[in-house]
């Protein structure tokens, strides 16, 4: 981590108490957060990282929601962020899943070993009961030495009781071995929580205090695991019989015979929601009717009254790629509904517990190209919007995997805006040639992935994923997640898109766009064997990928020409907004390599195909 973390990372010199929600992924922390903090929520990047943190106010105090983690350590960015927020907390509210205590109490015991004032919210008590899992709350309280409040957060029960218990938060029963080891360290650093981190070998925390990290991690983890197992044995009774409906569904999602049909059904449902309803019907209203039909004429008239539309500034503000026309239409008419739709689908899949099973299912396919199953998530989102996918590559375990996934997204994955046009054009050439198109794109994906996998140094991380119980998603939680994520995405994406649109407008005003078009013509006619008007489509494709694809529908093409044109436009460079996100996420070197490489791959593959068949 950089030097930004030398000081208190959250840097809030307000004097207000810091309440921090901590817990494993998907235990319902965010439900507590939104119930307590009400409407005022601030989502931002944690300083120096790309991890989102959510901050709000409750009563006189500041409330923070941390990324879900299985322990306080530094295995990845999210854990480092959670660690720093927890180290900075005045009181920690630890949300645990009553159906999953063997896993969840490891973090709890670690928080106790850090001697942080703690309240435990025992969530999903209703579900535990219905599954026949009995948790003896007073035994748990006794074993841990901190208040434990049973809750069922999705139905809202127990939420206010947990908040009322915050003043009674206590330092619990730490491992005797920790108690024995800590005093010596406390002579050299002032925080007991930090001392545990140093004891467990956290180099960054040790560095902050100018001491050497110690090598006690494995010994303490082993002792902690034994302690947790003992606590669970004392407080939890599990039924012998399994066979619950949700367990059976969970298993069917992994059984080869049923898993594949379920996968296709899920993909089909997502496609119906996002591809048909959102990209078709909703965008038809928002982009065409609302924005192009009402908003654009209005803003053109308004601005046009003060300056001529044909002037340079007029072009930049209200022209074809104008900051007030195309940029606004694209952001609110097209991108916003699509991103909303994708995040709804994503949140449903996430809350249902299907995503980790999907990652498990496709893991084998992904390892061939240097990724693990987890990478399916950015790839699916990329079919909605490549920018969305590129940002989501942050969840991957190593820089190498982020590079490979980003390259695949930007080289071969068509976004939903483009997909609609491609599907319509493929419908005119018949099934056989559609298969040829799909085959070529998949082949390119495999080749690019394999090449990067071979060429990039280092090793990809293997799949190691917790499979949570299957659950019926709650609408309120899905919507809340969707809105927070969409807002965050739009907040990040809009300036980059505006910069891109500005650049293209300047090219257009200065005549650069026309020159480009002319320069491209020999390539399209001679090499791709397409009509010269096709070069316009490729220029438009620089701006927005669906513009590029849509430009092709105007041309009279033979069936094979359609395949050549579609292969080329699919492999063509990412749109200007994606390029901007690419710069931001992967740095200029990688971004330029991907962008330049797309030219080579698109015209290379398209051209070779044209030379073979035309």
């Amino acid at each position: 981590m950089g030097s930004c973390c030398e000081a208190s990372p959250l840097n809030l010199a307000t004097g207000r108490a810091k309440l921090v929600l901590a817990g494993n992924p998907n235990v319902g922390k965010s439900i507590f957060f939104s119930a307590w903090s009400g409407l005022y929520v601030d989502v931002s990047n944690f300083p120096g990282t790309t991890v989102e943190i959510t901050q709000g106010r409750v009563g006189e105090d500041d409330l923070f929601d941390t990324p879900g983690v299985y322990g306080v350590s530094a295995f990845n960015d999210e854990e480092r962020v959670a660690r720093d927020m927890i180290l900075d907390a005045d009181t920690v509210i630890n949300v645990v899943d009553a159906t999953h205590l063997e896993r969840d109490l490891f973090l709890t015991q670690q928080l106790i070993d850090m001697a942080l004032p703690l309240v435990v919210a025992l969530n999903f008590c209703d579900e535990a009961r219905s599954r026949g899992i009995e948790v003896d709350v007073s035994a748990l309280e006794h074993e841990l030495g901190v208040p434990v409040i049973p809750t069922a957060a999705v139905s809202g029960s127990g939420l206010s009781e947990v908040y009322a218990t915050v003043p009674r938060a206590r330092v619990g029963r730490a491992l005797p071995e920790v108690e024995a080891a800590v005093p010596e360290l406390l002579n050299r650093l002032d925080s007991r929580a930090d001392a545990l981190m140093v004891l467990e070998g956290d180099a960054a925390i040790a560095d902050r205090h100018g001491v050497e990290p110690l090598g006690e991690r494995e010994r303490l983890y082993t002792l902690r695991r034994q302690r947790v197992n003992a606590v669970v044995a004392a407080a939890v009774t599990r039924p012998d019989h399994g066979g619950q409906l949700r367990d059976r569904i969970g298993r069917l999602c992994l059984e080869p015979l049923t898993a594949v049909p379920i996968l296709f059904a899920v993909l089909w449902a997502c496609y119906q929601l996002v591809g048909i309803v959102i990209a078709g019907d909703v965008v038809g209203v928002t982009e065409v009717t609302l924005m192009q039909g009402h908003y654009e004429p209005w803003i053109r008239a308004l601005v046009g009254a003060h300056l001529p539309a044909a002037s340079a500034l007029g072009q930049i503000l209200i022209g074809e790629f104008g900051l007030l026309t195309m940029t606004v239409t694209y952001l609110f008419g097209l991108l916003l509904p699509l991103v909303l739709g994708f995040y709804i689908a994503m949140s449903i899949l996430e809350d249902s517990g299907y995503l980790p099973r999907l990652a498990t299912l496709v893991d084998r396919l992904m390892t061939g190209i240097g990724l693990n199953g987890r990478a399916i998530i950015p790839v699916i989102l990329g079919f909605g919007c490549v920018q969305l996918g590129t940002i989501t590559t942050r969840i991957l375990g190593s820089k190498r995997e982020r590079t490979i996934a980003t390259a695949i997204l930007n080289f071969v994955v068509p976004c939903s805006a483009q997909l609609g046009v491609i599907a319509a054009m493929l419908a005119t050439v018949g099934f056989g040639l559609s298969l040829v198109y799909g085959g070529i794109i998949l082949l390119c994906l495999a080749l690019i992935g394999t090449a990067l996998h071979r060429a990039l140094p280092g090793q990809s991380t293997a799949l190691l994923i917790d499979l949570p119980p299957m659950r019926l998603p709650r609408l309120s939680n899905v919507l809340r997640k969707t809105f927070v994520r969409t807002f965050f995405f739009m907040k990040e994406a809009w300036p980059w898109f505006a910069v891109g649109a500005l650049g293209v407008s300047i090219l257009q005003v200065s005549g650069g766009l026309g020159l480009w078009q002319k320069a491209l013509a020999p390539l399209t006619e001679g090499w791709l064997k397409l009509p010269k008007e096709a070069s316009t489509a490729f220029v438009m494709g620089l701006v927005r990928r669906d513009f590029g694809a849509a430009g092709l529908t105007q041309l009279a093409l033979s069936p094979w020409q359609v395949v050549v044109a579609l292969v080329t436009i699919t492999l063509f460079v990412p749109c200007i907004a994606s390029l901007m996100i690419l710069f931001k996420e992967r740095g200029w070197k990688e971004a330029l390599a991907i962008w330049g490489g797309s030219w080579v791959v698109a015209f290379g593959v398209g051209g070779v195909l044209a030379q073979l068949v035309l």
């Binding site: 295995f75 490891f106 082993t222 599990r238 893991d363 199953g373 190691l464 917790d466």
Partner: protein, 71 residues
């Protein structure tokens, strides 16, 4: 034999975990030397899904291969 050789429904006890990083990560999930696990599902040529206690986790084939077990 290793975790990767387990078939669906088979149980086994973890013998050792060689890699230190993996060892601590799995400890957090409740898996360690001596843990009795059951193979809950098997993706052909892919990950192995383990069940133990109330817990289910999927391990990539490349990890599963490195963990020897006793039946």
């Amino acid at each position: 034999m290793s975790l990767n050789d387990l078939r669906r429904g088979q149980s086994a006890t973890i013998a050792t975990i060689a890699d230190e990083m993996l060892r601590v990560q799995l400890l957090r999930f409740g898996l360690g030397q001596g843990t009795r696990v059951c193979c809950h599902a098997r993706i052909p040529f892919g990950p192995v899904v383990l069940q133990y206690g109330g817990q289910e986790i999927a391990l990539g084939r490349d990890i599963a291969r490195t963990i020897p077990v006793n039946r």
